[in-house]
């Protein structure tokens, strides 16, 4: 009988799960969480960013469990997130307080504070490094020792340097409008579903947790021609930011009494986008606006793409799909898109039977209107 597909589900699932475990174990190698943490930094970063849960340890665990599947690791983290009570909101962080590890500007050569290349793959040649096959601990240790010795010869700064924002420099020149700080409490898209038109805070939240590939694709589409945003990267910075929470029950809030709960590493991008505006005399004028991109960890491509999409969504009048917030925001979430794709594997016997009936009835009777 052709009905086995829906019968014996329990046994089939159990056997399938066993098989899955076998696939993970059959090579008889174990990857430790610490190995993932120290050797797969980019992947850990990307998982944390897409799952909007900052925990390198749990991300590494998810990667291990998911056998390296990005969508699966993100899925695991998001599901775990649903079991955690939301107790606090952190205090606002200013990214000027970032301990910068890398910071570049594509707009100006001489930015206040200078450019800091930091660790980047940008200028590596993408040649497979066959030496890594023979990599060993002693060799690595030797390299580390040499490197640290090299660093000793460099004089350390007396105090921590904070880098000013490139945009502040341009604001002083009057090239950017000075906006009042908007202190409206942000909406929390994980506590309240998206409403349209969405607030900017909601848009940024959806963009920052978007699937890296999806955000990049849509940003690219906009840049290439299906959008009206042509930015120059004003500043990309990567570094860590301290996070504080205030005491939940004290009426009087005092900066001094805030609790430091840890650091997060983020990538932040500010793109400068020229726009035409009308001045008081109804004349057209060129001005700059900022597209903002930010994400957990070091993921510069995503942050830049996000900054483009942020600016696109600020200009909903344009007819390109990349400027349509429902089109962008509702389709870039990893868990949602991969989930709905995979649901097509579920049986659709009833719905298909229903459609079949409809087609048969149409073929049988009814008058085709040929006018």
């Amino acid at each position: 009988m052709g009905y086995v597909a829906v019968k014996g589900g329990t046994n089939a699932i159990e056997a399938s799960i066993k098989r899955l475990k076998y696939e993970r174990l059959k090579g008889e190698e174990i990857i430790e969480i610490n190995t993932i943490l120290s050797s797969m930094r980019s992947m850990v970063d990307q998982v944390m960013s897409e799952s909007s849960l900052y925990s390198p340890y749990l991300a590494a665990l998810a990667i291990k469990q998911a056998e390296g599947s990005m969508e699966e690791a993100v899925f695991l983290m998001r599901a775990h997130r649903s079991t955690l009570p939301r107790l606090y909101y952190s205090q606002t962080v200013e990214s000027e307080e970032m301990l910068v590890e890398r910071r570049i500007s594509a707009s100006f050569k001489d930015i206040p504070g200078g450019q800091l290349l930091g660790a980047t793959k940008d200028y590596t040649h993408r040649l497979l490094d066959f030496d890594l096959i023979e990599e060993n601990a002693e060799g690595n240790q030797q390299w580390l020792d040499d490197y640290l010795k090299e660093l000793e010869t460099i004089e350390a700064a007396e105090s921590v340097t904070y880098f000013p924002k490139v945009v502040d420099y341009l604001r002083e020149e009057g090239l950017f409008e000075n906006y009042e700080a908007d202190n409206t409490p942000p909406t929390d898209i994980t506590k309240q579903s998206l409403h349209f038109p969405a607030s900017r805070s909601a848009r940024l939240q959806v963009l920052t947790r978007g699937q890296t590939g999806a955000v990049t694709s849509l940003g690219y589409a906009s840049l290439r021609g299906y959008g009206q945003v042509h930015p120059t990267v004003g500043e990309v910075r990567v570094g860590s930011l301290p996070i504080y929470v205030s005491h939940p029950n004290e009426a009087e809030q005092n900066m001094e009494d805030e609790f430091y709960i840890g650091d997060i590493t983020i990538t932040e991008v500010e793109s400068f986008v020229p726009v035409t505006v009308k001045n008081e005399n109804n004349e057209q004028e060129l001005e700059f606006e900022i597209g903002y991109g930010v994400c957990y960890g070091q993921n510069e491509t995503k942050a830049i793409a996000m900054s483009i999409l942020d600016q696109c969504l600020e200009d909903p009048e344009s007819n390109f799909p990349t400027h349509d917030e429902e089109f962008v925001l509702l389709h870039i979430d990893s868990v949602e898109s991969t989930g709905f794709m995979s649901h097509l594997k579920l049986p659709h016997y009833v719905t298909f039977q229903s459609k079949l009936d409809s087609v048969r009835q149409v073929k049988k009777g009814g008058h085709i209107n040929e006018d």
């Binding site: 829906v6 699932i13 340890y57 649903s82 009570p85 579903s193 719905t351 409809s358 085709i368």
Partner: protein
């Protein structure tokens, strides 16, 4: 860093949030209440809306039945049952009459439900107007202005093209004479079961983040024109090859040997119940 899972998976704050959305949905029959849908341990599109409703309303004394396209043993139904059971420990059943909560994908059981039961339906696309209007912002306005011309036009165009309405599952309904609602892709055959249902019907769309409801004894009417009345799937002259039932939704199967079409109850627990009843009569008969 091992964390224990909560009763019914969610933290209590999340459950309260979802229950509030459910209460609102019951108060406004057929209206889609937005809620902050949580990510679940099963994939979006695999019943996360229904699952979130079930997990937020379930108590220790509840008895749960889960079906997928009519079958209790379907892989995804089993998977959902396993998840609910492992986080709540509630009793699982297959017999419709024994359950207090029935979570279902694309079917309403053949046995009429009672006021002691809640039917939870999984919904892939809660918006009946999505086919005619892609933007959520616009469909919300259309609902608020009671403007359902798009839904009517869709049916009208089918009549113009095919000489009859050609909807498959998910034929739109009017709820309480106000909101047009997607009944989830239940076959047209099941639409009438929603009308004046004794059981509360809750519908959950996880990916689209909407919850809506049909409270008990609510009018539910399938959209149709006077001269082109609503029709259900036809199984005329067909019957279940196992239990002989004729007035039920049937699955069409191909017999491997003869290649002929066979029909079988889609509702597996209903079929099983009928077979057991026949057997009981036979057994009792043989001992007389």
């Amino acid at each position: 860093m091992k964390t224990k899972t909560q009763f019914a998976f969610f933290d209590e704050g999340s459950k309260k949030e979802i229950r509030r959305a459910i209460l609102k949905a019951v108060c406004i029959p057929g209206y889609q209440v937005p809620f902050a849908s949580r990510e679940m341990p099963i994939a979006r599109g695999w019943g996360t809306g229904g699952l979130q409703i079930t997990l937020s309303i379930i108590g220790k004394s509840d008895v749960l039945k889960v079906i997928d396209q009519g079958a209790d043993e379907s892989v995804n139904a089993v998977s959902i049952k396993k998840l609910v059971h492992s986080t709540t420990g509630v009793e699982l059943v297959e017999r419709t009459q024994d359950a207090t909560i029935i979570q279902s994908r694309h079917r309403i059981p053949e046995v009429p439900l009672t006021k002691e039961q809640i039917l939870v339906l999984q919904v892939p696309e809660p918006e009946p107007l999505r086919k005619v209007e892609a933007r959520e912002f616009m469909t919300k306005i259309l609902h608020s202005e009671n403007d359902y011309s798009g839904a009517w036009l869709m049916l009208f165009e089918q009549i113009m093209k095919y000489g009859r309405t050609a909807t498959g599952a998910d034929h739109p309904v009017y709820v309480n004479n106000r909101y047009v609602m997607a009944p989830s892709p239940i076959p047209r055959f099941d639409n009438p079961k929603m009308h004046q249902s004794e059981a509360l019907i809750l519908l959950g769309a996880g990916r689209e983040k909407k919850i809506y409801a049909i409270p008990p004894f609510t009018d539910v009417e399938s959209l149709a024109f006077d001269d082109y009345p609503f029709t259900v799937e036809s199984f005329e002259g067909k019957h279940c090859h196992l239990c002989g039932a004729t007035d039920v939704f049937l699955d069409e199967l191909a017999d491997n040997q003869t290649g002929e079409s066979l029909f079988q109850c889609n509702d597996t627990s209903y079929c099983m119940d009928r077979l057991n009843a026949v057997e009981k009569v036979e057994v009792e008969g043989s001992y007389v």
